[in-house]
């Protein structure tokens, strides 16, 4: 199926719940409302013409005013690709978990939680995966500041006598 056909199939099925597409993306990107994510995901997996059976990646993007949770789906049978995006609130980001549909989402959602602090509701074991369990803050947020020390291990920047600035790498 081509991107247009997938989009049409989804819009036919869900209508209003499909909030729109993202034109800047080179892949077919569909924005969905967080309440309908589970329903749409299940349809994407079970519908024989879509059959997105392989969850490729769950990730997040911090747009400073909102945090996006991005799900990349693949179909091994039809060899097409779909990106589902859910907008989350920047202060307390929440998003439904798709673990019950694809087990692969388990670790990816834990990682996204670890890095962005998105609470995946319904996740069976939402704990930090890469960072230490008592780590503070969510490193991939743009306003993240490296802590001065961690269990007595000083921050290297601090040792060098300079503090990292707020995210502003390009001057």
């Amino acid at each position: 199926m081509t991107s247009e056909e997938i989009l049409k199939r989804l819009q036919d099925q869900f209508g209003e719940a499909i909030l729109g597409t993202d034109d800047s993306s080179l892949n077919l990107t569909v924005k969905v409302a967080s309440e309908t994510l589970l329903e749409i995901s299940r349809f994407c997996r079970d519908d024989s013409s879509l059959s997105f059976d392989l969850l490729s990646l769950v990730s997040g993007v911090d747009w400073t005013d909102r945090i996006e949770s991005v799900i990349h789906l693949d179909s091994t049978a039809h060899k097409h690709h779909l990106v589902l995006k859910v907008d989350c609130d920047h202060e307390s980001p929440r998003c439904p978990s798709v673990v019950e549909i694809w087990n692969a989402a388990d670790w990816h959602e834990r990682e996204t939680y670890d890095m962005f602090g998105i609470i995946y509701e319904g996740h069976p074991n939402l704990v930090r995966i890469l960072c230490a369990e008592d780590w503070e803050g969510y490193p991939l947020r743009k306003d993240y500041l490296m802590p001065d020390e961690y269990h007595g291990i000083p921050n290297d920047f601090q040792q060098a006598g300079k503090r990292p600035q707020k995210y502003n790498p390009r001057g």
């Binding site: 993306s25 990349h72 670790w107 890469l130 991939l140």
Partner: protein, 394 residues
């Protein structure tokens, strides 16, 4: 049978009680930490295993001991400065990490790649696949206790590393494939060396088969162990040899060709459950051995028709212009599908770069397939999944 009479409640040291019938044979469970420092976890993987004697009841995978936060680091550098960081993820297949990233940037930045560069990428990429599979096969031999196979594989891998060294000056972290092409040309002499290597190497694969793959004890140890059914593999997002071992012919080089792979003739190897059941450790292992032959086939074809020409636009070595937008591109890394999700805000470097690391996805299935196995099987299963911790933890 099974009357519930005379049941006594025995207190457990950790609290709570357990019901014991007279005549019950009860053994205590033991918590065992496999790793983070253990010879067979291929790095700093830690698996907490609950065992009954040597039988694994349950396991839990802990990762993150090698976490550098690649994704945060690359938000602070320019597009071309990212490639060295990608090297350090899957350090056994650095070329392929470079390739995946470069393809993703080229797609988003609409960068034209010279044809010669595409051919070089295929040759080097497949050579890297051979090197990576050799490492995997060799260490797998080590996991089951066959040390000689490991050294045979390393002897041949050494030759590929010398070729890489000659090509780009590095043996492990190459930084060779860049957005827009490759950082240096392959001379005729190097092409000849690669050709010689393939001629030398093809019979060596039979040697590995004789020594390890078809060895009775090896089959005894791996066939029928750690069976991963296809639906479970897809559910957990397993890709690469792990998925193909379960019988699905999914190979991105065929399914969604990138580079110039559509022009090459090769077979996608799938597991058939010859020795045990479909999707067992032997199938996953054998796929790697057989894929090395296919890689040789691809290299031979590429060497035959590699065109003359430029290998990169020199100005692209400095930096690439990438327009605002995002792209997601996957390549068939030796360990599975390596995906780069790149978001650009139109500036000099990535706004966000997220990586789908194949080992990260594949290892998640470990608790499912190791249930009911023995401790010795755990090592075999971890080896058959073939993880690189640099990539799992990034």
């Amino acid at each position: 049978m099974g009357e519930a009479t005379n049941v006594t409640e025995v207190p457990l040291p950790q609290g709570g009680t357990v019901a014991v019938k007279p005549g019950d044979f009860r053994t205590e469970e033991m918590l065992l930490n496999i790793g983070p420092q253990h010879p067979s976890t291929h790095g700093v993987l830690r698996v907490v295993v609950r065992t009954d004697g040597e039988i694994i009841l349950d396991s839990q995978v802990h990762i993150g001991y090698l976490h550098r936060c690649f994704e945060k680091v690359v938000e602070n550098v320019t597009w071309t400065q990212v490639t060295p960081y990608t090297d350090r993820m899957d350090y056994l297949a650095s070329m392929y990490n470079n390739l995946g990233y470069s393809l993703a940037v080229e797609k988003l930045g609409d960068v034209e790649v010279p044809e010669r560069a595409s051919y070089i990428r295929i040759i080097i990429g497949e050579l890297q696949r051979i090197a990576s599979h050799l490492m995997s096969v060799g260490t797998y031999g080590l996991d089951v206790g066959a040390i000689t196979a490991f050294l045979y594989c390393f002897r041949d891998r050494e030759i590929t590393l010398r070729i890489f060294e000659e090509v780009c000056g590095q043996r492990l972290n190459y930084n060779y494939i860049r957005p827009g092409g490759v950082s240096g040309d392959l001379t005729d002499e190097m092409l000849k060396k690669i050709d010689d290597f393939i001629d030398y190497f093809l019979p060596k694969i039979d040697e590995i088969d004789n020594l390890l793959s078809m060895n009775g004890i090896f089959i005894y140890r791996t066939a029928g162990v750690g069976i991963l059914p296809l639906d479970l593999a897809l559910d957990y997002g397993c890709t690469g040899p792990v998925l193909r071992g379960s019988g699905l012919a999914r190979d991105l080089r065929k399914d969604e060709p990138y580079g110039l792979y559509e022009q090459f003739d090769f077979d996608v190897i799938t597991g058939k459950g010859e020795k045990g059941q479909l999707g067992d450790c032997w199938d996953r292992y054998m796929i790697r051995v057989r894929e090395m032959r296919e890689s040789c086939k691809i290299i031979k074809q590429a060497l035959a028709k590699i065109p003359e020409g430029k290998f990169i636009e020199p100005k692209l070595l400095k930096n690439v212009k990438v327009k605002k937008g995002e792209s997601y591109l996957k390549v068939e890394n030796p360990r599975g599908e390596l995906g780069y999700y790149i978001v650009s805000d139109g500036k000099k470097g990535p706004y966000r770069c997220s990586v789908r690391a194949p080992s990260f996805c594949n290892i998640a299935v470990l608790p499912e397939i190791s249930r009911g196995c023995m401790v010795a099987d755990m090592v075999v299963i971890i080896g058959s999944i073939d993880i690189v911790m640099g990539e799992v933890d990034r």
